[in-house]
């Protein structure tokens, strides 16, 4: 009896979940609306426009590049933090701090550094290395730099979560059995941290494909991503079914890439922990 009464506490959070589900269902339904009926017309209209298809490809491409860059640059950082013997909190702060500062502020930082009148250009000009300012933002390079910086903390934290709580005795065992540090890393540490790497990559891909502030501020007019395209279309003409269908495409694109990753992650996690998820 008391249990049933206590379950009533789930009603308020359940109400929020219901609101969320209503929002998502409305998105799905509206994306299928055409005139007074329903159909796939919004979707076929999207794929018939060459410029939209290019934006779609660009979104996938940029998100993949950002994900790979975050993995390559982020792993050494996570590894260094996990091995650091001194005050780890300082390094953690370096990671968490930018994560918690607004995306708008961090992106503005890159505008100041890389912009045509920015710090890097002024330093290079001053040293006489270049004669006129380099164009480093308002193109895809700018978007990739910005997104990698904005999302790398998520990757580092994911890997760190695995590295910090791993079983250190396994590495000791490997070393005792005569493996050097390099072999121990490749045979023990790297496979053990793989679930964290995959989780981090999924997160970064998801965040990059849905990002809007960074591509809006660092991307050029011709280098839009799907999210900025949706935003601009919504601003110009308020056509909700069209926006909804584009959001659905964005959703499907991220899920198509992520689901195989997630299956892989399950598989790896099961093998690494030596048991299945119960």
């Amino acid at each position: 009896m008391t249990q049933n009464r206590n379950l009533l506490w789930l009603v308020p959070p359940g109400f929020m979940i219901a609101l969320f589900l209503i929002g998502v269902s409305y998105l799905v339904v509206e994306s299928l609306r055409q005139g007074s009926g329903f159909g796939l017309e919004n979707f076929s209209a999207f794929f018939q426009r060459a410029d939209y298809v290019r934006v779609l490809y660009r979104t996938i491409w940029i998100s993949c590049v950002v994900t790979v860059c975050c993995a390559i640059l982020g792993y050494p950082l996570a590894f260094a933090i996990s091995r650091y013997r001194g005050n780890r909190n300082f390094l953690m702060m370096l990671v968490i701090m930018p994560w918690l500062v607004s995306i708008v502020v961090r992106t503005y930082g890159w505008v100041v550094i890389l912009g045509p009148r920015g710090s890097l250009n002024s330093i290079l000009l001053h040293l006489g290395l270049i004669e006129r300012p380099l164009r480093m933002i308002f193109n895809q390079t700018g978007v990739v730099i910005g997104l990698v910086h904005v999302f790398i903390p998520f990757f580092i934290i994911s890997v760190l979560t695995v590295l910090l709580y791993r079983d250190a005795t396994l590495e000791e065992a490997s070393q005792t059995l005569g493996a050097g540090p390099v072999r121990t890393f490749w045979n023990v540490t790297a496979p053990l941290s793989l679930p964290g790497v995959l989780t981090g990559m999924i997160l970064v891909y998801l965040l990059s494909s849905g990002a809007i502030v960074t591509p809006l501020l660092l991307g050029g007019v011709r280098d839009g991503m799907l999210s900025t395209q949706i935003y601009q279309d919504v601003l110009q003409v308020f056509d909700y079914p069209k926006a909804a269908s584009m959001a659905m495409i964005l959703l499907l694109v991220s899920f198509v890439v992520i689901i195989p990753f997630q299956i892989l992650e399950r598989h790896v996690a099961t093998r690494v922990s030596g048991r299945g998820h119960g």
């Binding site: 379950l7 506490w9 789930l10 959070p13 359940g14 929020m16 979940i17 969320f20 209503i22 929002g23 409305y26 998105l27 050494p76 950082l77 260094a80 909190n89 390094l91 953690m92 370096l94 968490i96 701090m97 930018p98 918690l100 500062v101 607004s102 995306i103 708008v104 961090r106 503005y108 930082g109 505008v111 100041v112 550094i113 009148r117 710090s119 002024s122 910086h149 790398i152 934290i157 979560t161 709580y165 998801l206 849905g210 990002a211 809007i212 809006l216 501020l217 999210s227 949706i230 935003y231 909700y240 926006a243 584009m246 959001a247 659905m248 964005l250 959703l251 991220s254 922990s273 119960g278």
Partner: protein
């Protein structure tokens, strides 16, 4: 040799993490508002402009107000959900948990469009009420995780002891459970506050002529005029964030940020 090179790379990468923020902070203290070589003269001009601007100050309070309310609501809702789910494993409890975390797996722009539709269905589009509601939906998973993590550290024997000594459930909650999960609650509250206060990717779809937030206003200002006053505002926000994190670190530590997900 290899060792030192690897070390150098890692040090450079660590230095790059705070670099944009540091550059903005230095820029905000110059006359031109740009960190250039040779360094322009020192000036507090942009701070003066920020603090005397009625528009910016109003938006600062609006965003902080929304964030405090959102953090309160989300923390309370997450606490209800976490306590029930932690205590009773019922049919569908893991599905309920998955539904709470669901907003995290949606690309932000898609969430923005979904909330745009939801708010117009509810008749609160383009209002602060609508923005606050959307922020609650986004922050709920951020509040849930740390509270659940702290509940897992709670020894059930303590609650049983309280109850067997004759305390009412409400009394046990107040004197045993709440003090123990306090770090989780504080982390959840601060996390939600920061997420809501900084949110721009979803909010950009939800603003109206009557309702905008500080991050969105900064965003449009960068696009339209790129006035260096943005550097001053940004630095101010960074200092506030830094202060909040320091308080969090001193009071409950930062471990609840990177807690392993226990598999059960």
């Amino acid at each position: 040799m290899m060792r030192y090179m690897a070390l150098a790379v890692v040090v450079v990468l660590f230095a790059l993490l705070p670099l944009p923020i540091v550059i903005v902070a230095i820029s905000s203290l110059t006359q031109t508002g740009y960190f250039t070589v040779p360094l322009p003269d020192f000036s507090l001009h942009w701070y003066a402009e920020f603090f005397t601007s009625a528009i910016w100050i109003r938006l600062l309070f609006v965003s902080a107000g929304i964030a405090i309310l959102v953090a309160l609501v989300s923390t309370c809702l997450a606490m209800m959900a976490a306590m029930v789910i932690h205590r009773y494993r019922f049919t569908g409890s893991s599905a309920f948990e998955a539904l709470i975390m669901l907003p995290l797996v949606f690309p932000n722009a898609a969430l923005g469009v979904a909330f745009l539709g939801l708010l117009s269905l509810l008749g609160v589009s383009g209002s602060y009420l609508g923005i606050g509601l959307a922020h609650c939906l986004i922050t709920l998973p951020f509040a849930y995780r740390p509270i659940l993590n702290s509940l897992r550290k709670l020894d059930p024997a303590l609650i049983e002891a309280g109850q067997s000594l004759g305390a009412t459930p409400a009394h046990v909650l107040r004197t045993v459970t709440l003090p123990i999960i306090r770090p989780g609650l504080i982390t959840a509250f601060i996390f939600c506050f920061i997420v809501s206060f900084d949110e721009a990717t979803v909010t950009i779809f939800l603003i109206g002529p009557q309702a905008t937030t500080l991050p969105i206003r900064i965003l449009t200002e960068i696009q339209e005029s790129a006035s260096p006053v943005i550097a001053a505002i940004s630095t101010f926000l960074v200092v506030i964030t830094l202060a909040i994190i320091l308080v969090l670190e001193r009071t409950v530590g930062l471990e609840l940020f990177a807690e392993p997900e226990k598999q059960n």
